[in-house]
Protein backbone atom coordinates (compact mmCIF):
# COMPACT_ATOMS: atom_id res chain seq x y z
CA UNK A 1 0.00 0.00 0.00
CA UNK A 2 1.64 3.27 -1.06
CA UNK A 3 1.58 6.17 1.37
CA UNK A 4 -0.96 8.96 1.12
CA UNK A 5 0.73 12.08 -0.09
CA UNK A 6 2.81 10.35 -2.73
CA UNK A 7 1.73 10.25 -6.37
CA UNK A 8 -0.38 7.17 -6.93
CA UNK A 9 -1.62 5.52 -10.04
CA UNK A 10 -4.65 3.65 -8.73
CA UNK A 11 -7.71 4.34 -10.82
CA UNK A 12 -11.04 5.60 -9.59
CA UNK A 13 -14.01 3.33 -10.11
CA UNK A 14 -17.23 3.88 -12.03
CA UNK A 15 -20.59 3.75 -10.25
CA UNK A 16 -23.90 2.78 -11.77
CA UNK A 17 -27.15 3.35 -9.87
CA UNK A 18 -30.07 1.38 -11.30
CA UNK A 19 -33.75 1.83 -10.37
CA UNK A 20 -33.02 2.58 -6.71
CA UNK A 21 -36.10 2.73 -4.47
CA UNK A 22 -36.21 3.20 -0.72
CA UNK A 23 -39.02 3.89 1.73
CA UNK A 24 -38.92 4.58 5.45
CA UNK A 25 -42.37 3.52 6.65
CA UNK A 26 -44.95 5.28 4.48
CA UNK A 27 -42.40 7.84 3.24
CA UNK A 28 -40.93 7.00 -0.16
CA UNK A 29 -37.52 8.69 -0.16
CA UNK A 30 -36.05 7.35 -3.42
CA UNK A 31 -38.42 6.71 -6.33
CA UNK A 32 -36.43 4.79 -8.90
CA UNK A 33 -33.13 6.66 -9.21
CA UNK A 34 -30.85 5.95 -12.19
CA UNK A 35 -27.51 7.57 -12.99
CA UNK A 36 -23.89 6.74 -13.81
CA UNK A 37 -20.72 8.21 -12.37
CA UNK A 38 -17.70 7.82 -14.63
CA UNK A 39 -14.35 6.70 -13.25
CA UNK A 40 -12.21 9.60 -12.07
CA UNK A 41 -14.82 12.34 -12.38
CA UNK A 42 -16.28 14.68 -9.79
CA UNK A 43 -20.02 14.09 -9.85
CA UNK A 44 -22.20 16.39 -7.76
CA UNK A 45 -25.66 15.34 -6.69
CA UNK A 46 -27.49 18.55 -5.95
CA UNK A 47 -30.91 19.13 -4.49
CA UNK A 48 -32.82 20.77 -1.65
CA UNK A 49 -32.84 19.45 1.91
CA UNK A 50 -34.96 16.31 2.24
CA UNK A 51 -34.68 15.42 -1.46
CA UNK A 52 -33.02 12.04 -0.73
CA UNK A 53 -29.39 12.89 -1.60
CA UNK A 54 -27.81 11.73 1.66
CA UNK A 55 -29.91 8.54 1.72
CA UNK A 56 -28.69 7.81 -1.79
CA UNK A 57 -25.08 8.33 -0.68
CA UNK A 58 -25.58 5.95 2.26
CA UNK A 59 -26.78 3.31 -0.23
CA UNK A 60 -23.65 3.71 -2.34
CA UNK A 61 -21.35 3.03 0.63
CA UNK A 62 -23.53 0.16 1.85
CA UNK A 63 -24.93 1.79 5.00
CA UNK A 64 -28.50 1.29 3.71
CA UNK A 65 -30.12 -1.58 1.81
CA UNK A 66 -32.37 -0.58 -1.09
CA UNK A 67 -35.96 -1.87 -1.30
CA UNK A 68 -35.51 -2.21 -5.06
CA UNK A 69 -32.78 -1.60 -7.60
CA UNK A 70 -29.05 -2.00 -7.33
CA UNK A 71 -25.74 -0.17 -7.24
CA UNK A 72 -22.84 -1.37 -9.34
CA UNK A 73 -19.17 -0.55 -8.87
CA UNK A 74 -17.22 -1.13 -12.09
CA UNK A 75 -20.21 -3.19 -13.25
CA UNK A 76 -20.34 -5.43 -10.15
CA UNK A 77 -23.23 -5.25 -7.70
CA UNK A 78 -22.29 -4.06 -4.21
CA UNK A 79 -24.70 -6.64 -2.78
CA UNK A 80 -22.13 -9.28 -3.74
CA UNK A 81 -20.08 -9.94 -0.59
CA UNK A 82 -16.70 -9.71 -2.32
CA UNK A 83 -17.24 -6.37 -4.05
CA UNK A 84 -16.97 -4.17 -0.96
CA UNK A 85 -13.68 -5.91 -0.08
CA UNK A 86 -12.42 -5.64 -3.65
CA UNK A 87 -12.81 -1.86 -3.97
CA UNK A 88 -11.79 0.82 -1.52
CA UNK A 89 -14.63 3.20 -0.73
CA UNK A 90 -14.54 6.03 1.78
CA UNK A 91 -16.96 8.65 2.96
CA UNK A 92 -16.55 12.13 4.42
CA UNK A 93 -19.54 12.76 6.67
CA UNK A 94 -21.42 16.02 6.99
CA UNK A 95 -20.44 16.38 10.65
CA UNK A 96 -16.99 14.85 10.14
CA UNK A 97 -18.15 11.90 12.31
CA UNK A 98 -14.76 11.84 14.04
CA UNK A 99 -14.51 9.62 17.09
CA UNK A 100 -14.73 11.97 20.04
CA UNK A 101 -12.68 9.84 22.39
CA UNK A 102 -9.67 9.75 20.05
CA UNK A 103 -7.08 12.34 19.06
CA UNK A 104 -6.82 13.62 15.49
CA UNK A 105 -3.92 11.25 14.74
CA UNK A 106 -5.78 8.27 16.22
CA UNK A 107 -8.84 9.13 14.13
CA UNK A 108 -6.87 9.41 10.91
CA UNK A 109 -4.87 6.24 11.58
CA UNK A 110 -7.84 4.23 12.86
CA UNK A 111 -8.32 2.18 9.67
CA UNK A 112 -4.66 1.14 9.52
CA UNK A 113 -4.49 0.51 13.25
CA UNK A 114 -7.63 -1.61 13.46
CA UNK A 115 -6.79 -3.69 10.40
CA UNK A 116 -3.16 -4.05 11.55
CA UNK A 117 -1.93 -2.95 8.14
CA UNK A 118 1.14 -1.00 9.29
CA UNK A 119 3.48 -0.67 12.24
CA UNK A 120 3.06 2.19 14.71
CA UNK A 121 5.88 4.21 13.11
CA UNK A 122 4.52 3.74 9.60
CA UNK A 123 1.04 4.74 10.73
CA UNK A 124 2.42 7.92 12.34
CA UNK A 125 4.17 8.83 9.07
CA UNK A 126 1.11 8.08 6.91
CA UNK A 127 -1.10 10.10 9.26
CA UNK A 128 1.30 13.06 9.08
CA UNK A 129 1.33 12.81 5.26
CA UNK A 130 -2.46 12.61 5.06
CA UNK A 131 -2.84 15.64 7.33
CA UNK A 132 -0.23 17.49 5.26
CA UNK A 133 -2.26 16.72 2.15
CA UNK A 134 -5.28 18.53 3.61
CA UNK A 135 -3.13 21.40 4.92
CA UNK A 136 -3.38 20.46 8.56
CA UNK A 137 -0.11 20.33 10.42
CA UNK A 138 0.60 20.12 14.13
CA UNK A 139 -2.89 19.02 15.13
CA UNK A 140 -2.07 15.34 15.54
CA UNK A 141 -2.38 15.34 19.32
CA UNK A 142 -5.44 17.56 19.58
CA UNK A 143 -8.78 16.11 20.61
CA UNK A 144 -11.50 16.48 17.98
CA UNK A 145 -13.55 18.86 20.14
CA UNK A 146 -10.69 21.37 19.94
CA UNK A 147 -11.11 21.68 16.15
CA UNK A 148 -13.23 24.11 14.13
CA UNK A 149 -15.95 22.80 11.78
CA UNK A 150 -13.73 23.22 8.71
CA UNK A 151 -10.80 21.46 10.40
CA UNK A 152 -13.06 18.56 11.39
CA UNK A 153 -14.11 18.12 7.76
CA UNK A 154 -10.49 18.20 6.63
CA UNK A 155 -9.56 15.62 9.26
CA UNK A 156 -12.50 13.57 7.93
CA UNK A 157 -10.99 13.85 4.43
CA UNK A 158 -7.55 12.85 5.75
CA UNK A 159 -9.12 9.83 7.47
CA UNK A 160 -10.75 8.85 4.18
CA UNK A 161 -7.48 9.33 2.27
CA UNK A 162 -5.63 6.84 4.47
CA UNK A 163 -7.90 4.14 3.01
CA UNK A 164 -6.53 5.13 -0.43
CA UNK A 165 -10.05 5.26 -1.80
CA UNK A 166 -11.04 4.56 -5.38
CA UNK A 167 -14.41 6.18 -4.67
CA UNK A 168 -14.68 9.08 -2.24
CA UNK A 169 -18.14 10.18 -1.11
CA UNK A 170 -18.71 13.63 0.40
CA UNK A 171 -21.91 14.37 2.31
CA UNK A 172 -22.58 18.12 2.31
CA UNK A 173 -18.88 19.04 2.54
CA UNK A 174 -19.45 22.79 2.83
CA UNK A 175 -22.49 22.89 5.11
CA UNK A 176 -22.08 24.87 8.34
CA UNK A 177 -18.84 26.42 7.03
CA UNK A 178 -17.98 30.07 6.46
CA UNK A 179 -17.42 31.02 2.77
CA UNK A 180 -13.61 30.95 3.07
CA UNK A 181 -13.56 27.49 4.66
CA UNK A 182 -16.05 26.31 2.01
CA UNK A 183 -13.67 27.49 -0.73
CA UNK A 184 -10.78 25.65 0.97
CA UNK A 185 -12.82 22.42 1.05
CA UNK A 186 -13.82 22.86 -2.62
CA UNK A 187 -10.15 23.34 -3.58
CA UNK A 188 -9.29 20.26 -1.55
CA UNK A 189 -11.85 18.11 -3.39
CA UNK A 190 -10.57 19.17 -6.81
CA UNK A 191 -6.90 18.88 -5.81
CA UNK A 192 -7.36 15.35 -4.47
CA UNK A 193 -9.32 14.31 -7.53
CA UNK A 194 -6.54 15.52 -9.80
CA UNK A 195 -3.74 14.20 -7.65
CA UNK A 196 -4.96 10.69 -6.84
CA UNK A 197 -7.48 10.16 -9.66
CA UNK A 198 -10.20 9.21 -7.19
CA UNK A 199 -13.83 9.18 -8.32
CA UNK A 200 -15.65 11.77 -6.22
CA UNK A 201 -19.39 11.68 -5.57
CA UNK A 202 -20.41 14.86 -3.78
CA UNK A 203 -23.83 15.51 -2.29
CA UNK A 204 -24.62 19.14 -1.69
CA UNK A 205 -27.27 21.84 -1.86
CA UNK A 206 -24.55 24.46 -2.36
CA UNK A 207 -24.88 25.77 -5.95
CA UNK A 208 -21.53 27.60 -5.88
CA UNK A 209 -19.72 24.44 -4.82
CA UNK A 210 -21.51 22.28 -7.38
CA UNK A 211 -20.82 24.52 -10.37
CA UNK A 212 -17.31 25.26 -9.12
CA UNK A 213 -16.03 21.70 -8.85
CA UNK A 214 -18.27 19.35 -10.84
CA UNK A 215 -17.46 17.53 -14.05
CA UNK A 216 -21.11 16.53 -14.11
CA UNK A 217 -24.12 17.43 -11.99
CA UNK A 218 -27.43 15.72 -11.27
CA UNK A 219 -30.35 17.59 -9.73
CA UNK A 220 -32.57 15.51 -7.46
CA UNK A 221 -35.88 16.43 -5.88
CA UNK A 222 -38.39 14.27 -3.97
CA UNK A 223 -36.37 11.14 -4.70
CA UNK A 224 -36.18 11.57 -8.48
CA UNK A 225 -33.39 12.77 -10.75
CA UNK A 226 -34.70 15.75 -12.71
CA UNK A 227 -31.63 16.76 -14.70
CA UNK A 228 -28.19 15.37 -15.35
CA UNK A 229 -25.21 16.54 -17.39
CA UNK A 230 -22.28 18.92 -17.43
CA UNK A 231 -22.72 22.16 -15.46
CA UNK A 232 -23.59 24.00 -18.71
CA UNK A 233 -26.14 21.37 -19.75
CA UNK A 234 -27.80 21.47 -16.32
CA UNK A 235 -27.95 25.28 -16.44
CA UNK A 236 -29.77 25.03 -19.79
CA UNK A 237 -32.21 22.35 -18.57
CA UNK A 238 -35.82 23.46 -18.98
CA UNK A 239 -37.36 21.56 -16.04
CA UNK A 240 -39.24 24.17 -13.96
CA UNK A 241 -37.91 22.89 -10.63
CA UNK A 242 -34.33 22.82 -11.91
CA UNK A 243 -34.64 26.42 -13.11
CA UNK A 244 -36.27 27.43 -9.83
CA UNK A 245 -33.59 25.67 -7.77
CA UNK A 246 -30.69 27.13 -9.76
CA UNK A 247 -31.96 30.67 -10.17
CA UNK A 248 -34.00 31.54 -7.09
CA UNK A 249 -32.51 34.30 -4.94
CA UNK A 250 -34.10 36.26 -2.16
CA UNK A 251 -34.20 39.98 -2.82
CA UNK A 252 -35.74 42.22 -0.24
CA UNK A 253 -38.77 44.05 -1.61
CA UNK A 254 -38.24 47.26 0.39
CA UNK A 255 -34.83 48.96 0.52
CA UNK A 256 -32.90 48.51 3.81
CA UNK A 257 -33.30 51.23 6.44
CA UNK A 258 -30.93 54.13 5.78
CA UNK A 259 -30.42 53.24 2.14
Amino acid sequence: MPDPGTERSHQGVSVQVRGLRKSFGPLEVLKGVDFDVNAGEIFVLMGPSGSGKSVLLRHVIGLEEPDEGEILINGESISSPTVMDQYRLAMVFQSGALLNSLTVAENVGLYLEEHRLKTGEEIARIVADALELVDLRGVENKMTNELSGGMKKRVGIARALVIEPQLLLYDEPTSELDPLSAVTIAEEIVRLNERIQVTSLVVSHDRDLAFGIADRIAVINEGQILAIGTPEEVKRDKHPFVQHFLNSHFIRANPPLGA
Binding site: R58, I61, G62, L63, M84, D85, L89, A90, M91, F93, Q94, S95, A97, L98, L99, N100, S101, L110, Y111, E114, H115, R116, R159, I163
Partner: protein, 251 residues
Amino acid sequence: MRWLLCMFQNVGEIMILLWRTLLAFPQLWRQREKVFEQFFEIGNASLLMVCILSFFIGGVIALQTGPVLVERGLASAVGGVVGISICKELAPVMMSILIAGRIGSAMAAEIGSMRVYQEIDALRTMNINPIHYLVLPRLAAITAALPLLVIFAILVGWLGGAFVSSANNRIDISFAAFFSTLQDVVQLKDVINGVFKSFIFAWVIGVVSCHQGLVTIGGPRGIGRSVTKAVVNSIVLIVILDYILTRILLR
Protein backbone atom coordinates in the same frame (compact mmCIF):
# COMPACT_ATOMS: atom_id res chain seq x y z
CA MET B 1 -50.14 -5.64 22.05
CA ARG B 2 -47.62 -3.31 20.45
CA TRP B 3 -45.46 -3.11 23.58
CA LEU B 4 -45.44 -6.91 23.73
CA LEU B 5 -44.15 -7.12 20.15
CA CYS B 6 -41.62 -4.42 20.96
CA MET B 7 -40.46 -6.39 24.01
CA PHE B 8 -40.01 -9.59 21.98
CA GLN B 9 -38.15 -7.65 19.30
CA ASN B 10 -35.83 -6.18 21.96
CA VAL B 11 -35.19 -9.57 23.54
CA GLY B 12 -34.48 -11.07 20.10
CA GLU B 13 -32.07 -8.27 19.20
CA ILE B 14 -30.29 -8.62 22.55
CA MET B 15 -29.88 -12.38 22.04
CA ILE B 16 -28.51 -11.82 18.52
CA LEU B 17 -26.08 -9.18 19.82
CA LEU B 18 -24.94 -11.54 22.58
CA TRP B 19 -24.43 -14.36 20.08
CA ARG B 20 -22.47 -12.14 17.68
CA THR B 21 -20.34 -10.86 20.55
CA LEU B 22 -19.61 -14.41 21.67
CA LEU B 23 -18.61 -15.28 18.11
CA ALA B 24 -16.24 -12.29 18.20
CA PHE B 25 -14.46 -13.54 21.34
CA PRO B 26 -11.48 -14.91 19.35
CA GLN B 27 -10.79 -11.22 18.52
CA LEU B 28 -10.41 -10.41 22.23
CA TRP B 29 -6.60 -10.45 22.27
CA ARG B 30 -6.52 -7.87 19.47
CA GLN B 31 -8.82 -5.63 21.51
CA ARG B 32 -6.94 -6.15 24.78
CA GLU B 33 -5.93 -2.50 25.16
CA LYS B 34 -9.53 -1.39 24.97
CA VAL B 35 -10.54 -4.16 27.40
CA PHE B 36 -7.97 -2.95 29.97
CA GLU B 37 -9.03 0.65 29.41
CA GLN B 38 -12.68 -0.25 30.08
CA PHE B 39 -11.72 -2.50 32.99
CA PHE B 40 -9.84 0.27 34.78
CA GLU B 41 -12.60 2.74 34.00
CA ILE B 42 -15.16 0.44 35.62
CA GLY B 43 -12.87 -0.01 38.65
CA ASN B 44 -12.13 3.69 38.97
CA ALA B 45 -15.75 4.69 38.66
CA SER B 46 -17.14 2.13 41.08
CA LEU B 47 -14.61 1.01 43.67
CA LEU B 48 -15.32 3.75 46.23
CA MET B 49 -19.09 3.43 45.76
CA VAL B 50 -18.87 -0.36 46.11
CA CYS B 51 -16.84 0.07 49.29
CA ILE B 52 -19.27 2.49 50.92
CA LEU B 53 -22.39 0.64 49.79
CA SER B 54 -21.25 -2.83 50.84
CA PHE B 55 -19.88 -1.65 54.21
CA PHE B 56 -23.20 -0.08 55.11
CA ILE B 57 -25.25 -3.00 53.75
CA GLY B 58 -23.25 -5.33 55.99
CA GLY B 59 -23.79 -2.93 58.87
CA VAL B 60 -27.53 -2.66 58.30
CA ILE B 61 -28.02 -6.43 58.08
CA ALA B 62 -26.12 -6.82 61.35
CA LEU B 63 -28.15 -4.03 62.92
CA GLN B 64 -31.49 -5.52 61.78
CA THR B 65 -30.81 -9.15 62.64
CA GLY B 66 -28.25 -8.88 65.47
CA PRO B 67 -30.44 -7.62 68.40
CA VAL B 68 -33.29 -10.02 67.50
CA LEU B 69 -30.96 -13.03 67.40
CA VAL B 70 -29.07 -11.99 70.56
CA GLU B 71 -32.31 -11.51 72.50
CA ARG B 72 -33.29 -15.08 71.62
CA GLY B 73 -29.90 -16.45 72.62
CA LEU B 74 -28.73 -16.93 69.05
CA ALA B 75 -25.71 -14.62 69.17
CA SER B 76 -23.64 -17.31 67.51
CA ALA B 77 -25.85 -17.05 64.40
CA VAL B 78 -25.24 -13.33 63.70
CA GLY B 79 -22.01 -13.82 61.76
CA GLY B 80 -23.54 -16.61 59.71
CA VAL B 81 -26.72 -14.71 58.86
CA VAL B 82 -24.84 -11.58 57.82
CA GLY B 83 -22.19 -13.60 55.98
CA ILE B 84 -24.54 -15.78 53.98
CA SER B 85 -27.02 -13.06 53.07
CA ILE B 86 -24.24 -10.80 51.84
CA CYS B 87 -22.32 -13.35 49.80
CA LYS B 88 -25.27 -15.20 48.26
CA GLU B 89 -27.69 -12.38 47.64
CA LEU B 90 -26.97 -8.81 48.64
CA ALA B 91 -23.48 -8.34 47.25
CA PRO B 92 -24.16 -9.75 43.75
CA VAL B 93 -27.57 -8.11 43.34
CA MET B 94 -26.82 -4.73 44.91
CA MET B 95 -23.45 -4.40 43.18
CA SER B 96 -24.99 -5.38 39.84
CA ILE B 97 -27.70 -2.76 40.28
CA LEU B 98 -25.04 -0.21 41.21
CA ILE B 99 -22.95 -1.11 38.16
CA ALA B 100 -26.02 -1.02 35.90
CA GLY B 101 -26.63 2.56 37.05
CA ARG B 102 -23.00 3.64 37.05
CA ILE B 103 -21.43 1.76 34.12
CA GLY B 104 -24.39 0.48 32.06
CA SER B 105 -25.71 4.02 31.72
CA ALA B 106 -22.28 5.27 30.63
CA MET B 107 -22.01 2.48 28.03
CA ALA B 108 -25.47 3.25 26.61
CA ALA B 109 -24.75 6.99 26.56
CA GLU B 110 -21.35 6.64 24.88
CA ILE B 111 -22.45 4.18 22.20
CA GLY B 112 -25.76 6.04 21.77
CA SER B 113 -24.02 9.34 21.12
CA MET B 114 -21.64 7.59 18.70
CA ARG B 115 -24.67 6.25 16.86
CA VAL B 116 -26.47 9.61 16.78
CA TYR B 117 -23.39 11.52 15.61
CA GLN B 118 -22.67 8.95 12.85
CA GLU B 119 -19.42 7.72 14.42
CA ILE B 120 -20.67 4.13 14.15
CA ASP B 121 -21.49 4.70 10.46
CA ALA B 122 -17.94 6.01 10.05
CA LEU B 123 -16.58 2.80 11.62
CA ARG B 124 -18.66 0.71 9.23
CA THR B 125 -17.40 2.65 6.19
CA MET B 126 -13.86 1.78 7.36
CA ASN B 127 -14.88 -1.88 7.52
CA ILE B 128 -14.50 -1.85 11.31
CA ASN B 129 -17.14 -4.02 12.96
CA PRO B 130 -18.82 -2.01 15.78
CA ILE B 131 -19.37 -5.24 17.71
CA HIS B 132 -15.63 -5.99 17.70
CA TYR B 133 -14.64 -2.38 18.35
CA LEU B 134 -17.29 -1.25 20.85
CA VAL B 135 -19.30 -4.14 22.32
CA LEU B 136 -16.67 -6.86 22.76
CA PRO B 137 -14.22 -4.82 24.91
CA ARG B 138 -17.03 -3.49 27.11
CA LEU B 139 -18.62 -6.90 27.61
CA ALA B 140 -15.27 -8.54 28.35
CA ALA B 141 -14.28 -5.78 30.79
CA ILE B 142 -17.54 -5.81 32.74
CA THR B 143 -17.53 -9.64 32.82
CA ALA B 144 -14.10 -9.54 34.45
CA ALA B 145 -14.71 -6.51 36.66
CA LEU B 146 -18.12 -7.21 38.20
CA PRO B 147 -17.25 -10.59 39.80
CA LEU B 148 -14.07 -9.02 41.24
CA LEU B 149 -16.08 -6.10 42.58
CA VAL B 150 -18.55 -8.55 44.11
CA ILE B 151 -15.73 -10.46 45.89
CA PHE B 152 -14.47 -7.14 47.20
CA ALA B 153 -18.03 -6.15 48.22
CA ILE B 154 -18.49 -9.44 50.10
CA LEU B 155 -15.32 -8.87 52.11
CA VAL B 156 -16.16 -5.23 52.88
CA GLY B 157 -19.77 -6.18 53.69
CA TRP B 158 -18.60 -8.78 56.19
CA LEU B 159 -16.28 -6.18 57.69
CA GLY B 160 -19.21 -3.73 57.99
CA GLY B 161 -21.31 -6.42 59.69
CA ALA B 162 -18.48 -7.28 62.08
CA PHE B 163 -17.85 -3.62 62.89
CA VAL B 164 -21.51 -2.92 63.72
CA SER B 165 -21.83 -6.19 65.67
CA SER B 166 -18.91 -5.22 67.89
CA ALA B 167 -19.73 -1.51 68.18
CA ASN B 168 -23.46 -1.82 68.89
CA ASN B 169 -24.02 -2.65 72.55
CA ARG B 170 -27.31 -4.50 71.83
CA ILE B 171 -25.35 -7.03 69.77
CA ASP B 172 -21.88 -6.81 71.30
CA ILE B 173 -20.10 -9.59 69.45
CA SER B 174 -16.34 -9.34 69.02
CA PHE B 175 -14.67 -9.37 65.59
CA ALA B 176 -13.17 -12.76 66.30
CA ALA B 177 -16.50 -14.29 67.43
CA PHE B 178 -18.31 -12.77 64.40
CA PHE B 179 -15.84 -14.22 61.89
CA SER B 180 -15.66 -17.53 63.72
CA THR B 181 -19.45 -18.06 63.40
CA LEU B 182 -19.34 -16.73 59.85
CA GLN B 183 -16.70 -19.31 59.01
CA ASP B 184 -18.88 -22.08 60.46
CA VAL B 185 -21.85 -21.20 58.25
CA VAL B 186 -20.43 -19.73 55.03
CA GLN B 187 -18.72 -22.19 52.73
CA LEU B 188 -16.64 -21.55 49.66
CA LYS B 189 -19.50 -22.72 47.43
CA ASP B 190 -21.71 -19.93 48.85
CA VAL B 191 -19.19 -17.34 47.73
CA ILE B 192 -18.86 -19.03 44.33
CA ASN B 193 -22.66 -19.02 44.10
CA GLY B 194 -22.73 -15.22 44.49
CA VAL B 195 -19.81 -14.67 42.14
CA PHE B 196 -21.43 -16.88 39.51
CA LYS B 197 -24.61 -14.80 39.71
CA SER B 198 -22.60 -11.60 39.24
CA PHE B 199 -20.93 -13.12 36.18
CA ILE B 200 -24.35 -13.65 34.56
CA PHE B 201 -25.53 -10.20 35.66
CA ALA B 202 -22.43 -8.65 34.08
CA TRP B 203 -23.44 -10.12 30.72
CA VAL B 204 -26.95 -8.79 31.17
CA ILE B 205 -25.74 -5.26 31.96
CA GLY B 206 -23.15 -5.27 29.15
CA VAL B 207 -25.38 -6.61 26.40
CA VAL B 208 -28.52 -4.66 27.36
CA SER B 209 -26.61 -1.38 27.66
CA CYS B 210 -24.63 -1.83 24.43
CA HIS B 211 -27.82 -2.85 22.61
CA GLN B 212 -29.67 0.25 23.81
CA GLY B 213 -26.72 2.37 22.66
CA LEU B 214 -26.64 0.76 19.23
CA VAL B 215 -30.37 1.27 18.59
CA THR B 216 -30.43 4.90 19.72
CA ILE B 217 -32.28 7.24 17.38
CA GLY B 218 -32.86 10.98 17.54
CA GLY B 219 -30.70 13.58 19.19
CA PRO B 220 -29.77 14.14 22.84
CA ARG B 221 -33.31 13.20 23.87
CA GLY B 222 -32.89 9.82 22.18
CA ILE B 223 -29.62 9.29 24.07
CA GLY B 224 -31.36 10.10 27.36
CA ARG B 225 -34.15 7.65 26.53
CA SER B 226 -31.62 4.91 25.73
CA VAL B 227 -29.75 5.47 29.00
CA THR B 228 -32.97 5.21 31.02
CA LYS B 229 -34.04 2.08 29.14
CA ALA B 230 -30.60 0.49 29.57
CA VAL B 231 -30.65 0.97 33.35
CA VAL B 232 -34.30 0.02 33.88
CA ASN B 233 -34.16 -3.06 31.62
CA SER B 234 -30.90 -4.21 33.21
CA ILE B 235 -32.30 -3.92 36.74
CA VAL B 236 -35.55 -5.71 35.83
CA LEU B 237 -33.63 -8.54 34.16
CA ILE B 238 -31.18 -8.78 37.08
CA VAL B 239 -34.02 -9.19 39.58
CA ILE B 240 -35.87 -11.77 37.43
CA LEU B 241 -32.68 -13.71 36.67
CA ASP B 242 -31.72 -13.58 40.35
CA TYR B 243 -34.89 -15.50 41.22
CA ILE B 244 -34.32 -18.05 38.44
CA LEU B 245 -30.63 -18.51 39.33
CA THR B 246 -31.44 -18.83 43.05
CA ARG B 247 -33.97 -21.57 42.25
CA ILE B 248 -31.41 -23.41 40.14
CA LEU B 249 -28.49 -22.96 42.55
CA LEU B 250 -30.53 -24.01 45.59
CA ARG B 251 -30.89 -27.53 44.19
